[in-house]
Subunit: 104 residues, 2 copies
């Protein structure tokens, strides 16, 4: 997982429409593509039974996030996301300033 702060987080909170409609395959492809991007540090993703999902991805700096945002294949996925899959989403870019890890 990420190194010591500072680094950046993209917090993506979304509501999915019911049904798959190609979503799972695209989500898997985008996760793999993100991993191959320069400056990618890791990600956590959860979707609840009620359709609310949170994905947080971690990046070295803002330029890495901008490059990922503008990746051609990712841009096509973003368009499909708005057209097909998401009823609503919030995307936030945040600078991680402190981190604590606990293992029991």
């Amino acid at each position: 997982m990420p190194p010591e702060p500072p680094y950046y987080a993209v917090i993506f909170t979304s509501r999915r429409h019911p049904g798959d409609d190609g979503y799972a395959a695209m989500a898997e492809r985008m996760a793999a593509l993100a991993e191959s991007q320069p400056g990618y540090l890791g990600a956590d993703s959860v979707r609840g039974a009620d359709g609310l999902g949170i994905t947080v991805s971690y990046w070295r700096d803002e330029s890495a996030i901008a490059a990922w945002k503008n990746n051609a294949e990712h841009l096509r996925a973003q368009t499909l996301g708005k057209e097909r899959w998401y009823g609503a989403f919030d995307l936030r870019i945040a600078r991680v300033e402190g981190a604590v890890h606990f293992t029991g």
Copy 2:
């Protein structure tokens, strides 16, 4: 939900032990207590079937986060969390610098 950036996010990613053991009631109580704190701006929380959970809470500034961290009832819950409920967690404090909202 939150106003325009900047504001702060607490990103809490956790792995739960199986079974409830008082967790659900405490989680509900802590969510209600957080809402009553000065500087609280909102939160999103999801836990997947595999035990991975992500909760992101939003706060006006770092002093609001510090006050919540040190709230007496919350401190007792944090101790129980380490003793009983969480196999591991990561807690990150991040400054939200940009936000986009989409409604389809």
